[in-house]
């Protein structure tokens, strides 16, 4: 309805109602405005400068001058021609696949176990999982470091006592593989509780009768899992897998602190650490920005599934 029509045809009363309606329609926008402004200002502007930085030479001198030198695509060219980038990408991919597979695999087994044990054991194990979950990452790293140090770490002691082998003064930080294996243990230990407890909650929704009916029909363990349990778990499993991929690909604190700055080396870089060392630590912010954009692009692709799923959830309500 145009303004002219309104003034001629509508009584003043109707017009007020229209205005009130307009006011009411604008309410949700006023409600989201503060968040939009905050996020836009604090994240939008840096993201814009990230793109600009990636096309500039920007080091410490430029940081002080607050003015970068435009160099076109040089940063991207330099990164994409760098062997370290491709090696790091490959290493991070293998690391992510291993970590996600272990987290989801063990998490599923734990959830299935939780359904079958007695109530007291279940409460105890759930409590233990929540306790592990609540440990701050930085704290967990320090504890891991203490448990695995070569001189008097308890891991070497236990492995030797259990006759797994002679681990007396075994140095877990000697090889890249061993370093990343420790990081994997730490990441999986930290992520397991969330996965196991979420899957357990989903399992609790599997109707008991369905399983019993399958048992009467003669189905055994694996078949019940494949044909009854798994289809119900599938949506949750997909979301958990997707979240784990995103988190593990971008992991920073665990490898950075556990391997330790003095031992961080291009041969054990993961993506997050690579970015920190090459961009921030070497104060080569322009090149770091180019690496950031490549990393953000990869994660954006990895996130599509999860974000779409969540939008559906949010939209349905």
């Amino acid at each position: 309805m145009t303004a002219a029509e309104t003034s001629i045809l509508e009584s003043p009363r109707r017009r007020r109602v229209t205005l009130a309606r307009l006011a009411r329609a604008s309410v949700p926008y006023w409600l989201i405005l503060p968040v939009l402004l905050a996020v836009g200002a604090i994240l939008g502007y840096p993201l814009y400068s990230l793109i600009r930085l990636s096309f500039q030479h920007y080091g410490l001198f430029e940081l002080i001058q607050r003015q970068g030198q435009p160099i076109g695509l040089d940063n991207y060219r330099s990164v994409l021609q760098d062997r370290v980038f491709w090696d790091t990408l490959a290493r991070t991919t293998v690391f992510t696949v291993a970590n996600v597979a272990l987290t989801i695999g063990i998490g599923t087994l734990l959830a299935l176990l939780l359904v079958r044990v007695s109530t007291a054991v279940r409460l105890l194990l759930t409590g233990g999982l929540v306790l592990a979950w609540s440990m701050p990452t930085v704290v967990a790293v320090q504890v891991w470091y203490w448990m695995t140090n070569y001189e008097n770490g308890v891991l070497n002691y236990v492995l030797t006592e259990l006759h797994v082998g002679d681990f007396f003064h075994h140095d877990w930080y000697a090889t890249t593989f061993s370093q990343l294996a420790l990081v994997t243990a730490l990441v999986v230990w930290g992520a397991l509780p969330f996965v196991a407890i979420t899957l357990y909650a989903a399992l609790a929704q599997v109707p008991r009768e369905l399983v019993e009916a399958a048992e009467i029909d003669g189905a055994r363990g694996w078949r019940i899992f494949r044909d009854v349990t798994f289809p119900i778990l599938k949506p949750v499993l997909l979301i958990l897998t997707s979240l784990s991929i995103i988190w593990d690909f971008g992991v920073f604190t665990q490898p950075f602190l556990l391997i330790g700055q003095s031992q961080i080396h291009p041969s054990n870089y993961l993506m997050g650490v690579y970015l920190f060392e090459e961009g921030y630590f070497k104060s080569d912010f322009g090149r770091g920005a180019a690496i950031s954009i490549l990393m953000l692009a990869i994660v954006a692709v990895l996130s599509v599934f999860y974000v779409r799923k969540m939008v559906k959830v949010g939209d349905a309500a």
Binding site: L43, M135, V307, M310
Partner: protein, 277 residues
């Protein structure tokens, strides 16, 4: 029947073994923190301290900058959580109770931001904040944390708000209340537990944050407790494991307590809707 019982016992034993492995790092942290030095470095370690001592705890808190950095953490956490909860609550009402065009886009924003890898943002945040002299300032860290805490709070609070039956709200409005009146008299008391849980979880996330604090705060007196803890080893040549574990325990305890209180209420926000088959 017999076979079933044996399986059950075996499964229970396996579960107990897993419990031991999962809890061990936390146990070992506290146990080490309470042991005297000779027990810590003993070749055959004892599981529990035979002569418990609190000396490592006093050594840890007497380290330089412990109290300053705890204070910094509390200021940052307090400001971030308070501002975020208020702003996020408004946006959560819009998402939970209104249909509007652009809603979908807003949801994409809220979910998408939480997926951004933090390492990918250190460069631009550092450069931009340096430009406005907000490096080494607590305010710079507070606004940075807000970008991540805000979307999380919006999404979680939205979940709590949806749980409130529409009839209750409508009943209040039929009684002659305005929408605002209905909100304050009906909605607010119902959502209070959700607000508390979300705040506590935001507290935990903010308290634990490491990478942004590490790059944005260089001055030792300006750092947060997690950064302080991460530098603990670097400050001494002979590693003082007892003090390190005592410091770790002190950093973790407030988080563990809060987390245990609200974990059940919060965790399903991330997978909300997917659990319902």
């Amino acid at each position: 029947m017999k076979r079933g019982r044996v399986t059950r016992v075996v499964l229970n034993v396996v579960a107990l073994a897993i419990f031991v492995v999962v809890v061990f790092p936390v146990f070992w942290m506290i146990s080490t923190a309470l042991k005297p030095d000779d027990e810590i470095v003993a070749l055959n370690p004892t599981w529990l301290p035979t002569t418990p001592t609190l000396s490592h705890f006093s050594a840890a808190v007497e380290r330089p900058f412990f109290w300053e950095d705890v204070k910094n953490s509390l200021i940052i956490v307090g400001a971030t959580v308070t501002i975020s909860i208020v702003l996020a609550f408004l946006a959560a009402i819009a998402l939970a109770k209104y249909g509007f065009s652009g809603r979908k886009l807003f949801i994409v924003l809220v979910i998408g931001i939480q997926m951004l890898p933090q390492a990918g943002l250190i460069i631009p945040l550092y450069v931009v904040l340096a430009r406005y002299h907000q490096v080494n300032a607590l305010t710079g860290v507070i606004v940075t944390y807000m970008t991540f805490v805000l979307p999380f709070c919006v999404w979680t609070l939205r979940g709590f708000l949806i749980g409130i039956p529409k009839d209750l709200e409508e009943a209040a409005m039929v009684d002659g209340s305005t929408r605002l009146g209905a909100f304050f008299r009906i909605l607010l008391p119902l959502i209070a537990p959700g607000l508390v849980a979300t705040s506590v979880f935001a507290f935990v996330t903010t308290w634990n944050e490491y990478i942004f604090a590490r790059i944005l705060l260089n001055d030792q007196s300006k750092q947060t407790i997690t950064v302080w803890l991460s530098y603990f080893l670097g400050t001494s040549r002979n590693t003082d494991w007892g003090a390190l574990m005592a410091a770790s325990t002190l950093t973790a305890v407030p988080v563990i307590i809060f987390f245990l209180l609200v974990q059940r209420k919060i965790v399903f926000g991330l997978t909300a809707g997917a659990v319902k088959a």
